[in-house]
């Protein structure tokens, strides 16, 4: 049994269930095998929003739920030698480390070793306009926009170094998501960083776990079709990995959710494009030969993973200050709701035209068609189904002129008096937008470094 290493996941995004890590750590401790726990809390834009936070307060800019996530599990992980890795440092890993140090002292863990990984932030070190643009982003125009953040997706190597330095908690900013799982496996098993078949297993492990409950029943359950036990308490995933590259996905026993062929297939293909080329900084994963087998209750074995050499380049995602987004909503319901909603939509667009507001706008009829619709409302305009009992009318307007966007959103408010019969429930808001664009940079241009100190030293 000592051949097995456990990798647990405690969060799949910033905003995930904060009590999710507790049963995962309980399970890791109970099983008594060597293990690591990782948190993935950094989406494409999250680091830019964190950078804006840091501008407001130099001690902020890391994952806002960090203390809530770590407090219930930090002492158990420390005492049972379960290292914690996370990209929860976001735009400010040193400040996150200081927060964790203060938490550790409060919990009576002054010897907790905290590593800070640096190097992902390339905003001031690399000129973006000389880099090739990532293919999916070619159409975004950011030439005149102000840069907020630029971060490279760094791989497992500095995280492995942190573990070698004896870190109990590894605080990183932008890393590739799979690297958070690859690193403890490489460290524990001594896999070489060019053993592509093994790294492929690590990358698949990370990919399957990085979205937390998405492999254990989250965004999966569909009542009457794909039912899962206790969706209010979905267990977050745990992977069992062997030195030879065996991989089984499972979850804590005392939780809801499910691990079966369906959940694993959905997550295996999630955010994947060419299944033969899933590019990570550490390995290019090929799942075309992958097979799955249910090997027990809530246990799925993943086999046939192949790896190809890591790319020469890393992805850099840059965020720019964008335009303003104004949104307003009102409701209509009951007899003739559809006609009133359609007329309201037309009147809103007519008001923007008459006032000459320089915005790009769209109207949704929530309850008729919205999320599947296009900006011109093709679906709700063409809707011929039954009369919906309750419709929410939403205006979204965007532009670089804050006042024009604000005025556009306020046109929805004005409907409280000027709208159709029975119009109510107005809400509106104005938010700044972030634009992102991804580039490719040669990996040698992104040097990384690791500093490991105890909580006592950091807090001093």
């Amino acid at each position: 049994m000592s051949n097995i290493f456990l990798v647990g996941n405690g969060a799949g995004f910033s905003g995930d269930r904060v009590d999710a890590p507790i049963p995962v750590v309980r399970s890791l401790v109970r099983r008594g095998l060597p293990a690591a726990l990782f948190f993935e809390t950094l989406g494409e834009r999250t680091v830019a929003l964190a950078q804006l936070e840091r501008r407001r307060d130099p001690e902020l800019g890391y994952e806002p739920m960090l203390e809530r996530l770590l407090e219930p599990v930090l002492a158990d992980c420390f005492r049972h030698r379960i290292p914690i890795l996370g990209n929860f440092g976001a735009a400010n890993p040193p400040a996150a480390a200081r927060l964790i140090a203060r938490l550790a002292l409060r919990l009576g863990l002054p010897d907790l070793r905290i590593a800070v990984v640096a190097g992902d932030d390339v905003k001031d070190s690399i000129a973006l306009d000389q880099l090739p643009v990532h293919e999916a982003d070619g159409s975004i125009d950011t030439r005149s926009a102000r840069l907020v953040a630029a971060n490279a997706y760094i791989g497992a190597e500095p995280l492995v170094e942190a573990l070698r330095q004896g870190a109990d908690v590894v605080v990183a900013g932008r890393t590739s998501d799979p690297a958070l799982a690859i690193a403890p496996l490489v460290h524990h098993f001594g896999w070489r960083l060019d053993d592509w078949e093994k790294l492929a297993v690590g990358a698949a492990c990370g990919h399957l776990l990085e979205c937390g409950s998405q492999v254990t029943g989250g965004v999966f359950w569909d009542p009457g079709f794909k039912d899962i036990p206790d969706p209010a308490n979905i267990g977050f995933p745990i992977a069992e990995v062997t030195a030879e590259g065996g991989l089984v996905i499972t979850k804590p026993e005392d939780t809801g959710g499910i691990v079966d062929l369906r959940t694993v297939k959905e997550q295996l293909l999630y955010e994947l494009h060419d299944p033969a080329h899933y590019i990570t900084p550490d390995v290019v994963l090929d799942i075309t030969g992958c097979t799955l087998e249910q090997v027990g209750k809530d246990r799925v074995a993943v086999r046939g993973l192949r790896g190809k050499p890591a790319p020469d380049t890393l992805k850099v995602t840059a965020s720019f200050e964008g335009s303003w987004l104004g949104e307003g909503e009102v409701s209509v319901a009951g007899p003739n709701a559809l006609a009133r909603a359609r007329a309201t939509a037309d009147v809103l667009l007519e008001r923007l035209r008459r006032r000459g507001l320089n915005v790009r706008a769209r109207v949704d009829l929530i309850g008729v068609a919205s999320v599947h619709d296009s900006d011109d409302g093709a679906l709700w305009r063409g809707y011929e189904g039954p009369e919906p009992p309750d419709i929410r009318i939403r205006l979204a307007a965007e532009g670089s002129d804050r006042d024009a966007v604000d005025q556009a959103a306020r046109e929805v408010l004005a409907l409280l008096c000027c709208g159709t019969a029975g119009t109510g429930g107005a809400r509106w808001r104005l938010t700044p937008r972030i634009l992102t664009r991804s580039y490719l940079v040669l990996r040698e241009r992104v040097p990384t470094s690791v500093t490991t100190r105890t909580a006592r030293e950091i807090a001093a």
């Binding site: 794909k226 369906r262 293909l269 046939g304 634009l435």
Partner: protein, 122 residues
């Protein structure tokens, strides 16, 4: 002769949507692996692109995973600029999986209700 019935994909398959930039990927996984060849024949790139043309989608590629009995559809330019630029409530296009599952297919009645990897009811 086997009787064929027309059903929404939702009755016989499941799906999840993901995004990168202005591009969506949609998995399509039949509950019953026996349906894999039928879906391969009927759920073409063209039909899936047609589902999203009103959103400006320009291209759809289908990757087949016969060992997993699954498909991966990659739809370009479908996210109205992507999560940062879209005026849509669902800028990530996470709900697109449900639109894919609204597409109809013709399947043998005998295969409805069969399950191997999960429950399925028409």
């Amino acid at each position: 002769m086997t009787e064929m019935v027309e059903v929404p994909l939702h009755a016989v398959a499941h799906s999840r949507a993901g995004d990168k930039g202005n591009r969506s990927n949609l998995s399509l996984i039949p509950y019953d692996p026996a349906l894999y060849p039928l879906l391969a024949e009927q759920v073409t790139e063209e039909r899936v692109l047609d589902l999203f043309r009103h959103r400006g989608a320009t291209r759809c590629r289908r990757y087949d995973l016969p060992l997993l009995h699954a498909f991966n559809f990659v739809v370009d330019d479908v996210l109205e600029g992507g999560v940062n630029a879209s005026l849509n409530l669902d800028g990530h296009g996470k709900t697109h999986s449900s639109r894919l599952l609204s597409l109809t297919v013709r399947v043998p009645r005998a295969l409805l209700g069969r399950k191997e990897t999960g429950r399925m009811q028409p």
